[in-house]
């Protein structure tokens, strides 16, 4: 399927899901839970662009995600506490629509991704992972000490009284996150089939050989960190309106990093389908466990599943499927050869 056709098909699926769920589910809880699953589709797809396609393991999802969230908080503050901008520039900041906040959050997180890339891409393997983990700590420390966004106390965000697109505000957030999921998945699938994706795969397999084949590895890696960071930031931008109380401890939570690594690993890292499968399975289990047992169980579930998959299916669910297909193809090939030999 061509990228344009896929984009239309994915958009139609997204619209259909939104319309159907909004008709059939009247309980708000469904949308609260589904929002989180969709958010993880975006995060794990974004993570996979750098981690799965290019081979650089990023433990800094929390930093990019929270940068998006805090960008929205700042933009919100500029409007609700107009004194600052009036004093500085003499202007009154209007209420910024959430989709615009998501774009701005994406740009800022993308710039952070680019900067991180420049500073850390000389590091390979586990050293890169450690550097990204450190990035989370650095950004969190900055936010904790920034009083304008509440510092370590956190900040209350009051949702607008009316939600666009009819329905309640949570339905609106859910619809936005659905749109962002569709966009992220389309970007990931396009990369996979493009020259860019081939270059990423070459870098993942062998960087020296990629350079020798003419691949500008540094430039491609910077594209990957920027794109991946920007999508994570966009996923974080609606968070203040989702939780209505934003604080560093929860927005920089390690769970975001752990989940966005675990989901592509469980689903399969080599294709755009993998992160979706992983996010839907793991995200749904976590939501169910939160309601039925305890929210503290979530990380245990991730841990156990991660260990199981690393042992039993290191290439994830998609890896199991493609291995099965390869085995079948080999059997058919052998049968054909046998018949030819007999004839």
């Amino acid at each position: 399927m061509r990228t344009g056709t896929f984009l239309i098909a994915a958009a139609l699926v997204g619209v259909a899901l939104v319309v159907l769920t909004r008709i059939f589910f009247t309980n708000d809880y469904f949308f609260f839970a589904a929002y989180v699953v969709l958010q993880y589709i975006v995060l794990s797809t974004a993570w996979n662009i750098l981690g799965g396609y290019t081979g650089y393991i990023n433990f800094g999802t929390g930093a990019f995600f929270a940068i998006g969230a805090y960008t929205s908080a700042v933009l919100h503050n500029l409007h609700t506490k107009p004194a600052l901008m009036q004093g500085l520039l003499g202007i009154t900041v209007p209420a910024i629509p959430l989709p615009v906040m998501m774009l701005i959050g994406g740009v800022i997180a993308g710039v952070l991704g680019l900067g991180t890339g420049y500073l850390t891409l000389r590091l390979r393997g586990v050293f890169f992972a450690i550097a990204t983990l450190a990035l989370t700590v650095v950004v969190q420390t900055l936010i904790v000490n920034w009083d304008y966004v509440g510092g370590s106390r956190g900040i209350y965000i009051i949702r607008p009284a009316q939600a666009p697109l009819g329905g309640g505000y949570i339905q609106y957030l859910y619809t936005l996150m659905m749109a962002l999921s569709v966009i992220s998945v389309c970007i990931a699938r396009w990369i996979e089939r493009s020259r860019l994706g081939l270059g990423f795969a070459a870098i993942r397999d062998d960087e020296l050989a990629a350079e020798a084949g003419g691949v500008p590895t540094l430039r491609l890696k910077l594209i990957a960190t920027t794109l991946s960071g920007a999508l994570m930031g966009m996923a974080g931008a609606p968070l203040p309106y989702y939780v209505t109380y934003l604080d560093p401890a929860s927005s920089f939570n390690l769970a975001y990093a752990v989940n966005s690594v675990a989901m592509p690993v469980i689903g399969g890292m080599t294709s755009w389908v993998g992160p979706i499968i992983g996010a839907v399975i793991l995200g749904t289990i976590q939501q169910l466990a939160t309601v039925t047992i305890s929210s503290a169980l979530n990380l245990l579930i991730v841990g156990v599943l991660l260990i199981l998959f690393v042992i039993i299916a290191p290439n994830g669910i998609m890896g199991l499927i493609s291995a099965r297909q390869r085995r079948r193809a080999a059997i058919i090939e052998a049968a054909v050869q046998q018949r030819q030999a007999a004839a």
Partner: protein, 251 residues
């Protein structure tokens, strides 16, 4: 006049090249010239700096001193992929295939990122596919086009490595120990491939330990010992050189 000097100047001219790793001098004051169309054998004992020289010339490592001219153009400061795009290709001593990509995609990398990146070149998808088939045909790997590198034998892996280097449409190819660990008949196969490439106009520098292969392939020999060039000339003459004998056989 040395065989390297032609009317148009050499294809590759290296002067005063030096490289150290900490206190260890890996290469010292290397001068050499390679003319278009030559088949040069680069030999020397283990650790004499052959691969380091290739790495410096291809941009994988940076030489501290000296300069390199390729077709009259200075290469100093260019990174590896820029040199590849200028027409300088290499195969690696240990084959480095893209192990998650099938053979076609392995070759598409240099075709899309080197050949198509040159000004005035733009192969369509079908042309790229056609080039992949031709390249695989040339090294007798066409029937494994959709396989992964892990399904290949040692000699096939070496051929893939060469095919990937040749896919960049180079003017100068460094074949770094393309035959290490192969049986005599496999060595013959690789030599045949290299000779054919040379006939097509690619200048080749062969880095090799198997002397039979080097002697049958090269029109000129360069000898490195402990980071210094100690001999440069016709193969038979170089092998009679007492310094070379001493380096290989001892006093």
């Amino acid at each position: 006049m040395s065989p390297a000097q032609t009317a148009n100047g050499p294809l590759l001219a290296v002067s005063g090249l030096g490289k150290r790793f900490g206190g260890f001098v890996a290469l010292e004051n290397i001068d050499l010239a390679i003319a278009e169309g030559e088949r040069v054998g680069l030999i020397g004992p283990n650790g004499s700096g052959k691969s380091t020289l290739v790495n410096c010339l291809c941009g994988t490592l940076r030489n501290e001193t000296g300069s390199v001219l390729f077709d009259g153009r200075p290469l100093d400061g260019l990174i590896a992929h820029e040199r590849t795009r200028l027409g300088l290709a290499r195969s690696f001593q240990l084959p480095k295939p893209f192990h998650t990509l099938n053979l076609i995609d392995n070759l598409r990398v240099p075709l899309l990122y080197t050949v198509n990146a040159r000004p005035g070149h733009s192969l369509s998808d079908t042309e790229v596919r056609g080039r992949c088939d031709e390249l695989l045909e040339a090294v007798a790997l066409a029937d494994k086009a959709r396989r992964l590198p892990r399904d290949l034998t040692q000699v096939e892996m070496r051929k893939l490595e060469l095919a990937r280097a040749v896919a960049t449409e180079p003017r100068l190819l460094f074949a770094d120990e393309a035959m290490a660990g192969l049986s005599p008949s496999e060595v013959e196969e690789i030599i045949a491939v290299l000779l054919r490439l040379n006939q097509q106009g690619i200048t080749i520098v062969l880095i090799e330990h198997i002397m039979r292969a080097v002697m049958s392939f090269s029109t000129r020999l360069l000898v490195l010992v402990a980071g210094q060039k100690i001999a440069d000339g016709l193969p038979q003459e170089v092998m009679r050189n007492p310094e070379v004998e001493r380096a290989y056989l001892g006093e």
